[in-house]
Symmetry: C2
Subunit: 339 residues, 2 copies
């Protein structure tokens, strides 16, 4: 258990502002992690085995961190934010287990993905189990408003994933279609992770709206940065190979823009890589060359910054506190991070 906290802290070892944020919410954060660990207890060993495998890989835990920190800026005094933060992370973990099967990814967070260590079947069913557990926790909060938002998010995330599946290998996906996908598959849960705090705290409508906007735009910025890193990151720092999206046929903004801006032969090459699935390491290099030529990483990052700015401005109505300052830093981190 303490291990997970250590792992998460280690993720942020070079990010002093995030370290500070974690220390601000440390007690709550430990409670959330304990609660998550209790949820995966089952007499059926495969369930804790698969769950702990993905949990102990230690993601960034951004979503529960958001719930815990936003509950502070909403002056929430109760205990339900712990359950909500755990529920949000369990929903996210369930999605990751299913995503790894759908994307056929061999690695997750730099280690073998669960469906490689066990099998697709276990990942599908343990994902379903974790989703059921997430809903159990939400029900325990007795907040119908939170339940409504979280169940809406659950359907919308799946809808976004199906949209992405349909768009995969289709290099002609437009920038607008792509934004629509990431709003559903990524930004929705970020937004919900934030708004549930305002709902349990019975905050004013303007604060609810501010947190919806903050979470959504932070989620978009985070995803765009992820997309940029996948073509431009430092593999050592990233903890995974670059080009995963390319090899999985996932059409993301850097490649969408490269296609739109390319000349006839560059477009033909990208159509072959995506629509006709002709992909290898040399072809990835060629794709990156086109990406660099048309400066599409910078434009993706500049779009991320724009959404980060909207996220920060959305928080303006909240008083200046160390929690608000920490959330502002979290936006910056999401965009400047190198992993």
């Amino acid at each position: 258990m303490g291990n997970v906290i250590k792992l998460v802290k280690n993720k942020y070892k070079d990010e002093e502002p995030i370290q500070k944020l974690l220390s601000l919410i440390e007690n709550d954060f430990v409670r959330v992690n304990n609660l998550i660990n209790e949820q995966v207890i089952s007499q059926v060993d495969r369930i804790p085995d698969v769950s702990n495998h993905i949990i102990e890989l230690g993601g960034k835990r951004l979503r529960p961190i958001l719930t815990l920190t936003t509950s502070k800026i909403c002056h929430y005094k109760g205990d339900m934010h712990i359950k909500l933060a755990a529920a949000v992370e369990l929903m996210h973990t369930a999605t990751l287990l299913h995503d790894d099967v759908v994307d056929d990814s061999d690695f997750r967070r730099g280690k073998s993905a669960s469906h490689i260590v066990w099998d697709n079947k276990s990942s599908i069913l343990v994902g379903d189990f974790l989703l059921g557990k997430a809903f159990q926790l939400m029900v325990e909060t007795k907040s119908l408003e939170c339940l409504k938002n979280l169940s809406n998010a659950s359907a919308k995330i799946a809808e976004g994933e199906v949209m992405q599946l349909i768009a995969s290998d289709n290099i002609k996906t437009t920038e607008d279609q792509y934004m629509h996908i990431i709003e559903a598959k990524t930004a929705e849960l970020f937004s919900t992770a934030c708004v549930v705090s305002a709902l349990i705290a019975e905050s004013k409508e303007e604060e609810i709206n501010a947190l919806i906007s903050f979470g959504k735009n932070l989620g978009i910025a985070f995803q765009l940065k992820d997309d940029a890193l996948d073509y431009s990151g430092d593999e050592k720092i990233l903890g995974k190979n670059i080009g995963d999206d390319f090899f999985e046929g996932k059409v993301t903004l850097p490649i969408i823009l490269a296609y739109r801006r390319g000349n006839v032969s560059e477009r033909e090459f990208l159509e072959n890589s995506f629509n006709n699935k002709i992909r290898n390491k040399d072809l990835l290099k060629k794709a990156i060359k086109i990406i660099n030529q048309y400066n599409t990483i910078n434009d993706t990052l500049s779009k991320a910054k724009q959404h980060g700015r909207v996220a920060k401005d959305a928080l303006a109505i909240f008083p200046e506190t160390e929690f608000k300052a920490a959330l502002m830093k979290l936006v910056d981190f999401s965009i400047i991070r190198s992993h």
Copy 2:
């Protein structure tokens, strides 16, 4: 839409008592089917395509029928039973989509399974979408008690599925372990489909307990009959080949009992078929011969009848109405059915 109603009625065309039950609840049943159809609407075509494919294959719709009929014996006067019945069927449909991927079944209800028509990815993600929609409907009932029961069921069903996955190909699974699996993966949702009626109707505790017991034992009886049919049904009436469980390595009661009762060479043969996965049509015939020799189909059915009896006795405390009589007939149908 009318098609689905026609399909379901056709399922029961030789079952006069079930036809009568359907006519008793017909208006509600049409509303449930309309509501289900509304849930699968999405701008992402793949979602209605995959959903309608499995919905239009027209299962027996036993779970929503149970919710609608039990809400009558609980004298429920509101509208929430429609949402609950639809939610229960959507949960079940989501499970079927995931099951087909997990079992790698080519057929579902006599037609190509969704993951064959489209792909595993679509079945996983559309299943997730339908589960999200089921939770949205549950939240709309605003009944925290129902939400608690349904989210518990959701986690327990997934746990049962993982148990079955672990037990697959293990011919040494005990009868008790097997009962534990079907209580979770099948009986839990039957039980929940019944008890939510008592919860929204604010019934007395003894009626709540009666419906839990009724649903659970009916579910067990139903599953045991399914297991028996898989080795002994008439393929034409069944609408599928027999032996699916054998080929999928699913260890069910007829084969568990055959292994326990077999002599050394019969056991060795069954160990080869299951634990070593040596299976073909001739070996299925040999397995059926052992099953028949030790009369394990009859013993499975006699166990089903026993649970059917418990289900019927559980209903004793409810006054005699045509709805109660119809539920009694439904128990009989679940055991004598030939499909």
